[in-house]
């Protein structure tokens, strides 16, 4: 009695009431809602995946403003105080001819967070039926954003390293600024958003499109 909208011969675990444990991968019947192997909570799909992803994205987007407007660090050199933002620090590298480092900072601090936020919004829109769900391509995009996300943290580590090294008494010292905490928040929230998203929703959406009758067999309500 399986309505096989996906290619013939392929059955989804959820259609048989089976759920793969997110932690150990074991496929077991649901209920009971606990994995018999590792006792983690079992779900057919990540609970509230789209709403959670959007909430994390909202937090990350809101933090983008203070992250870029407030100073990442403040240099106190012979009594002269120079605050420096992410973009300012990047431009200093660019002006002094250090193009590779300027590009690394530009990619890690500006391009990657924006790409991540836009990609995840796109994934949420596709999974909730606003855009065509092209699972094969979108899932790959999701994988790339998960892979790239951590690299944005590089600026935070640079702040930590400079603060630790440049404590030369009255001659020169470096103080971390509020922008760095906000930026760390952007990185952590985009990572949490990528983890909250369930790529299986894209395939579910594709299957319900191809076979509307299938909606009745699925847990998710129609649009």
């Amino acid at each position: 009695m399986m309505s096989a909208a996906p290619p013939p011969g392929i059955v989804k675990a959820a259609d048989r009431g089976l759920a793969a444990c997110e932690v150990c991968g074991r496929v077991s019947p649901l209920p009971p809602a606990r994995c018999p192997r590792c006792a983690s909570a079992l779900h057919l799909r990540k609970p509230d995946s789209i709403r959670r992803t959007l909430a994390m994205l909202a937090a990350a987007t809101a933090l983008c403003l203070p992250a870029h407007l407030l100073p990442m660090l403040t240099i106190v050199e012979l009594g002269r105080v120079t605050p420096s933002t992410i973009i300012g620090g990047m431009l200093t590298f660019w002006e002094s001819g250090d193009y590779p480092i300027a590009l690394v900072i530009f990619a890690a601090s500006i391009v990657i967070p924006i790409i991540k936020i836009v990609t995840l919004l796109w994934l949420c829109a596709a999974a909730s039926g606003w855009l065509h769900p092209s699972p094969a391509a979108l899932v790959r995009l999701h994988g790339i954003t998960e892979l790239l996300g951590r690299w944005s943290m590089v600026d935070i580590f640079v702040v930590g390293i400079l603060v630790a090294l440049l404590q030369l008494g009255n001659y020169m010292s470096v103080i971390p600024g509020p922008g760095s905490l906000a930026f760390a928040g952007v990185v952590v929230f985009t990572m949490l958003a990528a983890m909250a998203f369930d790529p299986r929703l894209l395939w579910d959406r594709l299957d319900t499109r191809q076979d509307p009758a299938r909606i009745q067999t699925r847990e998710s309500p129609p649009d």
């Binding site: 011969g9 392929i10 690299w151 590089v154 935070i156 580590f157 640079v158 603060v163 630790a164 990572m191």
Partner: protein, 227 residues
Amino acid sequence: MSTPRTSRRAAETWPKPAGTRHSACRFCDALHVSEPVEEGLAARCTRCGTMLYQNRPASLARATAFGIAALTAMVLAHFFPFLIMDAAGMRSKLTLVGAARALIDQDSPLLGVSVILFTIVTPLVLAGGLVYVCLPLHFGRSAPGAVSVAKWMYRSEPWNMVEVFMLGVIVSLLKLIKVADVEFGAGFWSFGMLMLFMAAAVAGIDREELWDRMEIARGGQTAGPAR
């Protein structure tokens, strides 16, 4: 339901727990019957091609050995400085704990704690956890609390930022080289080794194999031939 695209040779597979086991693709949820795969081969989803599981050669030995190597490199990275800087007649040295403490001392405790979490705690949980779980599995035993340790390994994996910190050290060196004499210390190279050993240890054993072996060691009956 379909079986993954694989060939089988039972002698080279890890022991499977009793009963029919399924695996579901984590991307498209297609259900497959878990068939053993030959060493060095992987089972892929018949719908979207995602890797379901793979049989890594000498998996337990590799995960344990590279895990121990990673732990050794980790100890060295804490004893030697990452960067040594001479400026204004003063010599400063950078260590991981030093960077975290400087942030905490400068009223950024959250940043200091994240540096500790992402560069000290997660690599320790990953490498230490692999050794703690895989070494006893060699002798068919399950270490006490192995299930919780394996869960924490899985949770900490995305937060391991060893290689990102390496890039941070390089960027900082290029930034500082204009105002001071800076050079890489032995800690930096140890951390580089840690990065390589960690990658090898984590890639050494597949999740399905690790959990199957743990399940059997904890008292499940053996359905397949033991290695």
